[in-house]
Symmetry: C2
Subunit: 193 residues, 2 copies
C-alpha cells in the first residue's frame, strides 16, 4: 500500500523574517533544516550566509542597544551557502522556479564567477534548483552549468530544462529526515564515498 505522506520539505513554515515573503523562502527553510540535520549528525558544517543589509541609520535608545531605523537589502557578493563536507569546501547557490526550465537570468554573473573560482580552487561548486510545479529538486555542477550557459550565449536556449537537470545533474531525494538529502546527490555527482 502506498501512503501519500505530505512532503514536509516544501510545506514547512517559512522562517519568521520580513524578508521571507518576497523571496520564496520555503525552499530555503527546507535547506536550512537539512543543514541543521547534517550538523547535528556531525556529517557536515554548512550554513546560509546572512542577507547583506546596507545600514543607513541607527538609533541608540539605550547605551547597549542599537536599533536600525533605515536599511536596504543588498545583492549578495557571493552565493547563499557554503561550508565543509567530507573535508571538502562546498559552495552553492539555491534557486527556485515556477517553470519547468531554469532561466540563466536568475543567477547573477558574479555568482557564477564565484562558483567558477571555487571550482578552480578545488571546492565543490554547484547550483541547487527547486522546481515547484513538479516538486523536484536538482543539483548541477558549475562546469555543466557553464557549458550550457556558453551555448546560451552563442545563441542557444536561454534556460536549462528539467530534462537537462535529470541528465546532467542529480536529483535530490525529498523526505523527512533530512527534509532534502541533497548531500546524497552531492556524493553521487562528485563520486564521494
Amino acid at each position: 500500500m502506498k501512503i501519500n505522506y505530505p512532503n514536509p520539505s516544501i510545506q514547512t513554515k517559512p522562517h519568521r523574517d520580513a524578508h521571507v515573503q518576497s523571496h520564496g523562502m520555503i525552499f530555503e527553510h527546507a535547506l536550512n533544516l537539512a543543514n541543521e540535520y547534517y550538523y547535528n549528525r556531525n556529517l557536515a558544517v554548512i550554513y546560509k550566509k546572512p542577507t547583506p543589509i546596507r545600514i543607513v541609520k541607527v538609533d541608540y535608545p539605550s547605551r547597549n542597544k542599537a536599533r536600525i531605523t533605515e536599511g536596504y537589502y543588498q545583492t549578495p557578493s557571493t552565493t547563499d551557502y557554503n561550508g565543509i563536507y567530507k573535508g571538502r569546501y562546498l559552495d552553492y547557490e539555491a534557486k527556485e522556479t515556477n517553470n519547468l526550465s531554469f532561466s540563466f537570468k536568475h543567477i547573477f554573473p558574479h555568482q557564477i564567477e564565484h562558483l567558477e573560482r571555487v571550482h578552480k580552487h578545488g571546492g565543490l561548486a554547484f547550483i541547487i534548483i527547486f522546481f515547484k510545479k513538479v516538486n523536484q529538486v536538482f543539483i548541477m555542477d558549475i562546469l555543466a552549468f557553464q557549458d550550457l550557459l556558453a551555448e546560451a550565449k552563442a545563441g542557444g536556449k536561454q534556460s536549462i530544462s528539467l530534462e537537462q537537470f535529470q541528465t546532467l545533474g542529480k536529483q535530490v531525494t525529498l523526505g523527512f529526515t533530512p527534509t532534502m538529502d541533497y548531500l546524497k546527490a552531492v556524493d553521487e555527482l562528485y563520486h564521494l564515498v
Copy 2:
C-alpha cells in the same frame, strides 16, 4: 637606512557602515582588503559573512523597493570569515584587543564549538587577533586555543598572553600588498606548501 612607513593596514579608513564605530572595524577592513588582494591574485576565495540582522519592520515605498525601518544586530551563529585556500576549507574568527593579552570571554562558546567542528571535518580553523597597543597580529589554531581554554576552565589564566601567541601561534606580517599577509602565517602554521 630604515624608513618608518606608516602601516596602512591599521590606518585604513573604516568601512562606511553605521556598525563600524562600535566594533572596531578597522582591523576588519584590513582583513577584507587582504582577502580582496588574495582574490584578485587568484590565491584564495575568502569572504566575510554579512552581519546577521533581525528584521522587524519593512516598508515598501514602491513595488520593488524594500526599506527596513526596524532591525537589530544579531549574534552571528558562526564565525566572521570562511572560504577556500589551497583546496582547503578555511574558517576563522577575527578579534582585536587593547590589552597585551586576549581574554577568553571575547569569543562566544558557540564560535569555539563551530571552529572545533570545522577542524574535525578537516578544515583549517583558527583565530586571528590584532593587538592594537603593539600593532601586532597573530593567528592561533583552534586546538592550541582549546588547550589554553581548558587550562583556564581548570582555574588557570583567563586570557592568552602576547608571548603565548608568539610561541603557540604565528605572527602575521603587516604591509602594503596585501595589508596583512595572514595566509603566509597560515602556510607556516599548517605547513602548507
